[in-house]
């Protein structure tokens, strides 16, 4: 047990040594198309513990994040986003999750930005 505690402490120290940033900016692409997608994507991202700020751009499809790297990582966020039906470069939402998004958000059929035509 003592050993584990020591290792854990060492890990914490390495974390500091590696300079894990508690306000790390990251940006990656997430597929979607409208204002409703935006809310869904941002909400899923913010629900991941460690994500402080999320802004998905309708025209560029880029999700800009500020995250606490000690608590989460990009893949965990992408998983959360796939869970609500949105694909990223690596992860694909299940058909079931995709079927659950609102009909206006069906980006796999048409990935163009039409945020202006509806909400």
């Amino acid at each position: 047990m003592k050993k584990i505690v020591v290792v854990l402490m060492a890990m914490t120290l390495t974390n500091v040594a590696f300079g894990q940033n508690k306000n790390k900016k990251m940006t990656f692409e997430v597929n979607g198309k409208c204002e409703m997608c935006k809310t869904r994507i941002e909400k899923a991202a913010l629900n991941v513990s460690g994500v402080k700020f999320a802004d998905w751009s309708i025209p560029t499809h880029q999700l800009s994040l500020i995250v606490d790297e000690r608590k989460t990582n990009a893949m965990a966020i992408k998983m959360a986003i796939a869970e609500v039906g949105h694909d990223s470069k690596e992860l694909k939402a299940t058909q079931e999750a995709y079927d659950n998004v609102h009909p206006c958000c069906k980006y796999r059929e048409d990935n163009t930005d039409d945020g202006k035509s509806h909400h």
């Binding site: 809310t39 913010l46 999320a54 500020i66 893949m75 998983m79 796939a82 690596e90």
Partner: protein
């Protein structure tokens, strides 16, 4: 060792999953000396699945295994992506080979400070510049004609000043701010709204209910914030001229210039004048004041996107002169001093002269790396000097005010949980002369506030704030306020709010219209700290429901609001007795219930209908009993129709606007007395007012408008009681329940360079 690693990996894994089955592993790269180096932050995911993981500091990963997926992708920037076939849970070790080319280049787009608009917890109505153009005249007090949230009443029979009210309470119970700095208060309470020219206004935000704790404790039934045009975004040159058939002339000019990448400056000039004497009702009194105003503002705007600093500096000087009273009155000849022997040949007149200087400085810092975090500092100073007399009554007020606010915005955990924390300090020095009695008062307060905002981005948002203030006259007190919004289903919003507010009533400044009467002023105080009265204190709560809909492919919405304000103490202005006005602390009840039902719909393409019914139950315990506030109509109806043609390529367009206000019966003061005290009787009948305006836009640069107010010419026949003997006992100009001026036609132009 391996065991411990496993344990540690398990312990620090951020995602504990319910999957019993998982694939674990180590991702490394080969380095020149033949050793292996763990790769931290590599992506590990099942191909075409929603499942992924990232390697930790030691290159370890744990990924749930799902029989549906068997291709495990391992990728890392600068390395060749590998895909492994894995059919069953196991522990693997994988070596990634460096890729000489960068596989992925991330270009970070430079973005502006991100601004999000969520559905707010507060019941906020925004009037934008397009809406403001619907009623072209002339200043902030007249900017609410096309909006049902605010009711416009007449202040008195002389100055033509409009008094605004919200939720059944007049403007002293609203907090009126300009760019979040308290503005219309103290000495400027009555005429302050007329000192902000309409063209200076960029937008107005109206918050019903208690409002935020950030700007202070004074708001009771709502807040109105005005954003003024900004040098950076306003037109380089803007010119507006206005004239009406009653002789009112207005001129507005804005000149804005960008001085450098970071600095912009602008000068806004307003002048208005009325030198034509109008007495259409033949009572010998001017129907509208002779007026002269010059109003100059200079603003400086600084913006540095790289460092995150923003700043505003504003300076404003105002001189406003009004003359009212009998048509033949000539101040230099006819002014009668108090105590002079009257022989019955005197002419009654009044002058209200105001000089005001305002300045404000704002400094804001947005942390460049943290768009959700900022610090703001505001400081403002104003000096308001009004010299006035109303016949024999003299009323002068000097008000110096200093206000500072420091505010820190940030988040708790993530942007779903935001907070604002800060400090306010305020100083108000009043120096008043009421006839031959001087009143001097200094108010000082220091406060700290904290406001927490939660939003789940979809259904729920809550803003809860509390502030603690220490005030030399109001004492030490907490002010809590809470607002919540819930979306039960699509396009619906359910809101509720609760809050407390307090204020020191400036009884003379707020009620100075009463000087233009023969009423005797009685101050029946209890030795309180403010003119012998206690501070006013009230609680406000409300609920509202908004539902959007689409009918025949066109959008609409319907809303219902109910608000109640309950006074614990109020300085009651009792003018039920026609020969006196009596100020007392509240004994008994005082409350305002307001109900508003609003319906908005695009009835035909480009034809917008806005309609509202409002019910006000505003009662106060007067000497004669618990009565509806005098001149407060219980029922009001509002309708606005707007039509716009399609904008052509050159920018040309026609715009049409029509507004109807129906005001129900109003109780007149003294209605409970055995003999009705005014010659009008006990109640004033209801009436309807109609306004309309046509705007022809010739191009993006030039437009003209033509409008009419009070098209049917509704008028109060004899608004001045005892007009034939203005120095006699029956003289009264305060009982005004209808417009004084009849139909008024106006025209003007706008040039945007």
């Amino acid at each position: 060792m391996q065991k411990i690693y496993r344990l540690v990996a398990l312990l620090i894994a951020t995602n504990f999953t319910l999957y019993a089955q998982e694939v674990t592993g180590l991702v490394v790269e080969n380095i020149p000396n033949g050793k292996e180096l763990p790769l931290a932050g590599a992506n590990v995911y099942w191909l075409n699945s929603p499942i992924g993981a990232t390697t930790d500091q030691n290159g370890r990963f744990t990924i749930p295994q799902d029989p549906k997926y068997d291709r495990l992708v391992i990728s890392y920037i600068g390395f060749i992506t590998d895909t492994l076939t894995i059919g069953a849970p196991k522990d693997i070790k994988h070596i990634l080979l460096a890729n000489n080319q960068l596989e992925e280049v991330v270009v970070e787009k430079k973005r502006d400070a991100v601004k999000k608009t969520f559905f707010s917890a507060q019941n906020v109505v925004t009037i934008n510049s397009a809406e403001l153009l619907k009623a072209a005249c002339c200043n902030l007090s007249e900017s609410f004609e096309t909006n049902p949230a605010i009711d416009v009443n007449f202040n008195d029979a002389l100055t033509g000043t409009k008094q605004i009210q919200m939720l059944g309470l007049t403007s002293p119970y609203l907090m009126i701010t300009q760019e979040n700095i308290p503005m219309v208060r103290g000495a400027s309470q009555v005429y302050g709204l007329t000192f902000t020219p309409g063209t200076w206004v960029e937008s107005i935000q109206i918050t019903k209910g208690a409002g935020s704790v950030v700007n202070g404790f004074e708001s009771i039934s709502g807040q109105i914030n005005t954003e003024i045009v900004k040098p950076l975004t306003d037109y380089p040159v803007f010119l507006n001229g206005y004239a009406n058939l009653n002789g009112r002339l207005e001129l507005n000019a804005h000149i804005n210039q960008k001085i450098s990448d970071r600095w912009s400056t602008g000068i806004n000039v307003h002048a208005n004048n009325r030198s034509v004497k109008v007495d259409n009702n033949g009572d010998g009194f001017l129907d509208a004041p002779l007026a002269d105003q010059i109003n100059v503002q200079n603003r400086w705007q600084y913006q540095n996107p790289e460092t995150g600093w923003v700043s505003f500096l504003s300076f404003r000087y105002l001189n406003d002169d009004k003359q009212v009273g009998q048509v033949n009155y000539e101040p230099s000849i006819h002014r009668v001093n108090q105590g002079a022997a009257l022989d019955g040949s005197e002419i009654w007149g009044s002058e209200i002269n105001t000089n005001r200087f305002d300045s404000s400085a704002k400094l804001g810092y947005v942390f460049p790396e943290l768009p959700f975090q900022s610090i703001g500092f505001q400081a403002s100073y104003s000096n308001h000097k009004q010299d006035a007399y109303f016949g024999l009554n003299q009323y002068d007020i000097d008000h110096q005010s200093l206000y500072t606010n420091l505010i820190f915005n940030s988040i708790i955990g993530n942007t779903k949980n935001k907070f604002k924390a800060g400090l306010n300090a305020a100083y108000d020095g009043y120096d008043e002369l009421v006839n031959d009695q001087a009143f001097q008062r200094v108010d000082r307060s220091l406060g700290a506030f904290f406001e927490y905002g939660y939003e789940d981005l979809e259904r729920l948002s809550v803003t809860a704030g509390v502030r603690f203030d220490t005030h030399n006259r109001l004492g030490n007190f907490f002010t809590p306020r809470i607002h919540a919004r819930y979306t039960p289903w699509e396009r619906a919003s359910l809101r509720a709010s609760f809050g407390l507010g307090r204020r020191a009533a400036n009884i003379f400044a707020e009620n100075q219209r009463l000087f233009a009467s023969s009423r005797v002023i009685q101050l029946n105080g209890n030795g309180g700290d403010i003119y012998g009265f206690d501070a006013e204190k009230a609680m406000n709560f409300g609920v509202s429901y908004l539902q959007g809909f689409t009918l025949f492919n066109r959008p609409g919405n319907v809303s219902v609001d109910f608000y109640r304000t309950d006074f614990e103490n109020q300085v009651v202005v009792d003018w039920e007795n026609p020969s006196a006005v009596r100020f007392t602390n509240l004994t008994g009840e005082s409350f305002a219930n307001s109900l508003q039902v609003e319906f908005n719909y695009e009835i035909l393409p480009s034809l917008e209908l806005r309609t509202a019914y409002k019910y006000y139950d505003v009662k106060t315990s007067y000497q004669t009993g618990l009565l509806q506030q005098p001149l407060q109509a219980q029922n009001r109806y509002f309708l606005n129709l707007g039509y716009e043609t399609k904008i052509k390529e050159n920018g040309s367009q026609w715009r049409f606007d029509y507004t109807l206000h129906t005001v129900g019966e109003q109780r007149l003061p003294g209605s409970e007395n055995t003999v009705p005290t005014t010659q009008f009787g006990r109640v004033a009948d209801g009436y309807s007012l109609m306004n309309a305006q046509i705007t022809k836009v010739f191009s993006k640069k030039f437009e003209v408008y033509l409008g009419g107010e009070n098209l049917t010419g509704v008028r109060q026949g004899n608004p001045v009681l005892g007009a034939s003997d203005p120095f006699g006992p029956d003289f009264d100009t305060t009982v005004v329940f209808r417009p004084i001026l009849g139909t008024m036609v106006y025209t003007g132009f706008r040039f945007k360079g």
